[in-house]
Symmetry: C2
Subunit: 351 residues, 2 copies
């Protein structure tokens, strides 16, 4: 008899992007912020006491929840803090969908979603974006699908495109299950679905400290939803999902909005510049509202080969050997110097 469930034995785990130990690599493959976190976050870590390490942390990351409630203008019982946004996804999936319940998501999207569905032995319902040139649109009739849970990354990964909030509002109104809007990249976008929470009790937002706040190494994410739903999710989370060091650093980083917003402005400016320059070289790129772009290589070029050639030059971008993505590279926006190095390498390789 196998020791593990048949659905676990049959599935493949999620493959994270490469995390090279070598810090000289120009790393534009996993959507980290090119700028370090707020000095206040570093200082919070320096100030951690042995006594804080010795004792269990706040079970509910109270300090962070109070700070997040203030930043977003909601009540603290509308916030759940988790060990990275991925843990929130896992909690929501387990809370809402049992075996053979349907979990739907938009594709191409975050490739963790099908893994989470397989783990739960749920019925997977991938729904394709409607592509009109570089426009990534929600398909007609999406609200009418029958599913316990619908997952949408917005701005989307890997396309960087944004579904307008009004469309998400219509979707929430018509959809019979829980709508999770994964706003991991929203700090680089002009709008958030936050206003929907007042009108729709079947919406939960996912937020991450990994991108907008330069804290990918810390593992800190959170969810925002009506208190009743948050109370149910709290039953499913671990007793102490966030550690004392992470709570302190994430709280400090979130409270330093001026610092974070400066990094977002810089990333957005660089994103626009890089998009224009790559388009000028023949790449096709949807308008991104995120900290990365999805670039279709010029006609006659091979995206997988270009990925490898860049890697050989110590520049890592992301290539997905998946339907609809095989002619594309997902490129994280780096510092001006990193983006220049990338452009120079691409110019040389395509010449």
């Amino acid at each position: 008899m196998s020791l593990v469930r048949s659905n676990i034995g049959a599935m493949h785990g999620y493959t994270p992007g490469e995390q090279p130990g070598d810090v000289s690599v120009i790393k534009l493959n996993t959507n980290e912020n090119p700028y370090p976190p707020s000095p206040a976050a570093i200082e919070a870590i320096r100030q951690v006491t042995p006594e804080q390490l010795r004792r269990y942390p706040q079970p509910d990351a109270r300090a962070f929840r109070l700070a997040a409630a203030k930043v977003h203008g909601v009540s603290p019982d509308m916030i759940i803090a988790t060990n990275g946004g991925d843990e929130l996804l896992s909690i929501v999936v387990r809370a809402c969908a049992g075996e053979n319940d349907t979990i739907a998501w938009l594709e191409p999207g975050y490739s963790l979603y099908p893994v989470l569905a397989a783990m739960q032995a749920a019925r997977p319902m991938p729904v394709q974006y409607e592509l009109q040139g570089n426009d990534w649109k929600l398909p007609n009739g999406l609200a009418g699908i029958s599913a316990k849970l619908l997952l949408i990354v917005n701005p989307n990964a890997p396309s960087g495109t944004l579904v307008p909030v009004e469309q998400l509002s219509e979707l929430a109104a018509g959809f019979g299950g829980l709508l999770l809007v994964d706003e991991a990249y929203v700090d680089f976008a002009p709008q958030s679905a936050l206003p929907l929470l007042q009108r729709h009790s079947n919406v939960i937002l996912l937020r991450s400290m990994s991108k907008g706040y330069g804290l990918a190494g810390l593992r800190f994410g959170y969810g925002i939803a009506q208190p009743g739903l948050i109370a149910e999710l709290n039953k499913v989370r671990d007793s102490y999902p966030c550690d004392a060091v992470a709570i302190g650093a994430a709280t400090a980083a979130l409270q330093d909005q001026p610092y974070a917003q400066r990094t977002w402005q810089r990333v957005i400016a660089e994103r626009e510049a890089l998009t224009q320059k790559l388009r000028a070289k023949g790449f096709s790129i949807p308008s991104s509202h995120s900290n990365f772009i999805l670039a279709t290589v010029p006609a006659g070029r091979d995206a997988a080969a270009l990925y490898q050639q860049l890697k050989d030059r110590n520049i890592l971008v992301r290539y997905f050997a998946l339907p609809g993505l095989r002619d594309k590279l997902r490129i994280t926006i780096g510092t001006p110097e990193q983006n220049s190095a990338l452009l120079a390498a691409i110019t040389s390789l395509l010449s």
Copy 2:
């Protein structure tokens, strides 16, 4: 329609022990180590760089796994690192038991186990310890139960008692599912079930950095098992369960075995002294191999009232309003000063 599954709606979440913000409380209720972590762990945290925070951490906590493999004399592919031992429990439950599969555990034991089973909509099979005076024994025929997973805390919480390794070996040989031995407290015990892993592919050990290494605030645990099982569990874990700060600090603490072992020796000496002194006052206490004791209050006394009276004096111990535990207090071993204060308070309250 409810947004959450019926089993989630019907269940109650786990209730962690109180975590008072007030550091003047003598906190003997959640089994933390009374001594701070190794200075090497503190130093590792002080040395964390902004760049480590900005980038994603090692997905598999490689640095820690190499250190743990060396300490335990196993190969690194026999180690999985998790965000606290609780996350390992959640991973194992999800990997091994689907809806209506049976999960068994010994009772009274860790009260998180029934919560994890309810979360998974699994069939719960609590099995009672066979109590002979202060002896907590595995019941006859335990190996013959039909379950996907059997969870045993050893040394047990809340009793502190130890099932000999030979009995666990017999159990593993006869049992048809996965046997998880939760060794969260093993650092204070004379033996571990580690040798079983060579002979039994259906055994996994849980270890924690919270107790033996004074790092409850950091959330770091790990599992040890045959590589085939670890590979399956890796499919179910998050992409980056352990953060960069925690990996560094946990690795440093684990490598400083001399420091950790000194704290264990002190705790053990204090445990023996406190046990004798409380027994002399009429408490009945099984021999503990952990960093806490389970004390049955003297005849005619009320354990719940004593808990409250101690709390009124700023001393927190743990009281469980559960079958078999209502006449008992679980008391974490503190520093000599804390234990003296506890004894003085009890002497005064019982006089």
